[in-house]
Amino acid sequence: MKLKDLKPNQKAVIINCQEKALPLKLMEMGCVDGVEVTLLNKAPFGSPLYFIIGGTRIALGKEIVNELDVELLEHEKEPKA
């Protein structure tokens, strides 16, 4: 699933980050494969979206959340980057 499909407070991990044509900055800000992501909030007009990614609060625009793949987390697993 894509990052945009995440529901509020649902936890997931980022996957396939390297295959996407996304700015390197995203990775440098800690958005790499295996990092946990939670959706906190959506902006009033649908974009941007506000996440906690690996402990950082970060808002991302449509052009990014439509691209990034995530995998829902099962409750027991707790991978940490």
Partner: protein
């Protein structure tokens, strides 16, 4: 005596790490704000001296996450770091204790460039609250650089180092960092075997990571770099291969940093509060968030519109009383006139903006310090982005309803340089408070005061339409500009949401002071010069201009004399000269003079007409309105202020750039006359065109 060394140190760090607070602590108020050539990014530098007498110039570089730029500001950091001539000697890296891992990525990259570096981990006052523990000694050992925990909030050191503040300790460490051996990680990142190997022997003294950055970011550099490193440009350049290598590099760096942090950094999640997330649930709520935002904007508006008017009245009164006093006590001659009506009025015209600037920046600095500005971007981005503006552009656009001068300055908080520039350029379209007196008098004159649809007053409706017209013109122009101004960076929305914090009073006051100072001594000089020129043109003329008995031998009242003088002054001559140009808009030379004097401030339109129509007391609007209503054209004998002329004038004042304070501020903020000149011709051209069409259709 020892010769004093001079060193240039750059302050680098991620955004929101309290970099600027630390800068203020180290340098106090000894700072200089300039601009980097060609772009609207302010260059802030300050000075301090080390114990051994070394003089340090500290440069506060824009916050950045990476040395692979995605904006003009980040590009600037990279260029400053890679510069050979007058380059940086060392780096003071500021990191946020909450996000050490990510901050260390940047540190790692900078170390690879071969710079002496020291690390200041900021916000250590929050460690206990967050359950964070750091083994500083171990970290120092693993990173092989000086490391210090600081808190920009508290200047006192904790128990261990009593009597010696952290800031002083930091200064000692700056001296230490030049003694530490530089360490280069880069070779170990498996990037050997890439094309960079081929040119390495050509530049034996250059750190390989520097070559790597010059190579991978080669499209960002100009001629100078090309001439210094010609071999780099001979290498094959395949973007997608490079991107893969760069991603590999980041992941390897993360792995290294994780290893370092495993032994030195511990966070106990059970002690974390998540307060920011809880506040955000309200402040970013679909309904409450917007309402709270609108309320805050209303407060800002109220402050610069209503509260500011009180000190503005004081300034006004102070200067008019001083003027009157000087006029009665000084000899009645040219020099006294220059001093009072020229220079003092000019200074008054500058200081009158200070209350608005102070209040606006008090709000902006508070909101910024508390972390709310990023929330404004979050809430408003979707709304502003189609027009090529940032979410933060809402602040200049709304402040513009009071006055364009502080509003244009408030665009400084916008990170993206293109969005910042466009925000500044379109803000003058917003209906400012100086346009109101002009609108009021013309609307009262030509628009009948009757109700439409039973309860809506037509005059009020026209005024509302003019406000909306201003916003529409601003947004449409922003849209056009965003298509015209090229940016090599694709717009990605990536925004860190900082933690909510109590504002630090000192930082707020410094921000306010910086802006007031920048305005008074930057734009202020231009405004004073302009007003002296305008005063000269309005009070001087060819021989005999002030002698009505020359062609009107009968006795004239003092108000009629004033009208005669203005008509025959240089400014009056200019008004008559432009009459052929403004005739198609329905204006005669009298309106022409008022258009010209409006450059001092738009509301001067009213007082100029009072003078021209010999009203005498310039505050008597009722009489002025009567005179205007009865005014007939000298040529055709018909009334001057018809509905067509009125609408034409309203449109002209809605669009025309007639305020040299705004132009001076634009010039001060962009550090070039190019943008104010473009804005002047664009706005005035649009004004002329719309007034022309309206008049020709209606008359």
């Amino acid at each position: 005596m020892k010769k004093n060394r001079k060193l240039k140190i750059a302050l680098i760090g991620n955004p929101n790490t309290g970099k600027t607070s630390l800068f203020n602590k180290l340098t106090g108020l000894h700072k200089k704000i300039g601009n980097y050539p060609g772009i609207t990014v302010h260059r802030v530098s300050g000075h301090f001296t080390l114990d051994d007498g070394t003089e340090i110039e500290l440069i506060d570089l824009p916050g950045t996450y990476s040395l692979h730029p995605t904006s003009k500001d980040e590009e600037l950091v990279l260029k400053e770091l890679l510069r050979n001539r007058e380059g940086i000697d060392g780096i003071l890296m500021v990191a946020d204790v909450n996000n050490l891992k990510r901050n260390l990525i940047l540190l790692h990259e900078i170390q690879d460039l071969g710079f002496p570096v020291m690390l200041a981990i900021n916000m250590c006052d929050e460690m206990k609250k967050k359950g964070i523990k750091i083994d500083v000694d171990k970290l120092r050992e693993l990173l092989q650089i000086p490391v210090i925990l600081v808190s920009a909030k508290k200047s006192k050191a904790d128990g261990q180092h009593q009597g010696k503040g952290r800031i002083h300790q930091m200064k000692e460490m700056i001296a230490d960092m030049f003694k530490a051996p530089s360490r280069k990680y880069f070779e170990t990142y498996g990037l050997t075997g890439t094309s960079i190997d081929f040119i390495k022997p050509d530049y034996p003294d250059v750190p390989i990571y520097k070559l790597w950055l010059l190579y991978t970011e080669q499209d960002k550099f100009g001629k100078e770099i090309k001439e210094q490193y010609p071999k780099i440009y001979e290498l094959p350049f395949d973007r997608s291969t490079l991107k893969r290598l760069l991603q590999k590099e980041v992941i390897k760096r993360y792995r290294d940093i994780n290893r370092i942090l495993k032994d030195t950094y511990r966070i106990d999640k059970t002690e974390a509060t998540g307060l920011t997330e809880r506040i955000d649930r309200i402040l970013l709520h679909k309904v409450w968030g917007i309402l709270i935002f609108l309320f805050i904007m209303f407060l800002v508006f109220q402050a610069i519109f209503t509260w500011a008017s009180i000190p503005m009245d004081w300034i006004d009164q102070f200067f008019s009383q001083t003027n009157a006093y000087l006029k009665t006590h000084l000899p009645n001659n040219q020099l006294t006139d220059l001093l009072t009506d020229g220079i003092l009025s000019g200074i008054a015209g500058v200081l009158i903006f200070v209350p608005q600037i102070t209040l606006l920046f008090l709000f902006i600095a508070l909101l910024e310090e508390m972390g709310y500005m990023s929330r404004i971007v979050f809430l408003m981005d979707r709304l502003m982005q189609p027009f090529g503006l940032s979410g933060k552009s809402v602040v200049p656009l709304l402040s513009g309803t009071a006055c364009a001068v502080p509003a244009i300055m408030s665009a400084r908080t916008i990170e993206n340089d293109k969005e910042r520039l466009i925000s500044m350029l379109v803000t003058p379209f917003i209906t400012c408070s100086a346009r109101l007196p002009v609108y009021t008098i013309i609307i009262a004159l030509v628009i009948p005061s009757k109700d439409v649809a039973g309860f809506i007053n037509l005059q009020g409706l026209v005024l509302l339409a003019l406000y909306l017209l201003g916003f529409a013109a601003a947004l449409m122009s922003a849209f056009v500009l965003s298509k015209m101004i090229k940016s090599k960076y694709k717009r990605y929305f990536i925004l860190e949401m900082p933690e909510y914090k109590a504002p630090i009073a000192k930082n707020v006051l410094i921000t306010v002071w910086d802006h007031v100072k920048a305005f008074v001594f930057g734009a202020g000089k231009i405004i004073v010069a302009f007003s002296i020129i305008l005063w000269f043109l309005a009070t001087h003329g060819p021989a005999g201009f002030d002698n009505p008995s020359f062609d009107k031998p009968f006795q004239l009242s003092s108000s009629e004399q004033a009208a005669y003088k203005l008509e025959h002054s240089y400014l009056g001559k200019m008004g008559k000269t432009i009459e052929p140009v403004i005739k198609p808009l329905g204006y005669d030379w009298k309106i022409g003079i008022a258009l010209l004097t409006s450059f001092a401030a738009r509301e001067v339109f009213v007082s100029t007409l009072s003078t021209i129509y010999s009203v005498g007391n310039t505050d008597d609007e009722q009489l002025l309105r009567e005179r205007m209503a009865n005014e007939k054209s000298q040529i055709t004998g018909t009334y001057t202020f018809t509905l067509a002329v009125g609408i034409s004038l309203l449109l002209f004042y809605a669009f025309a750039m007639q305020c040299f304070s705004t132009l001076a501020t634009l010039r001060n903020e962009t550090k070039t006359w190019k943008w104010p000149v473009i804005v002047f011709f664009y706005m005035t051209g649009l004004a002329y065109l719309s007034a022309f069409v309206a008049y020709q259709l209606m008359s």
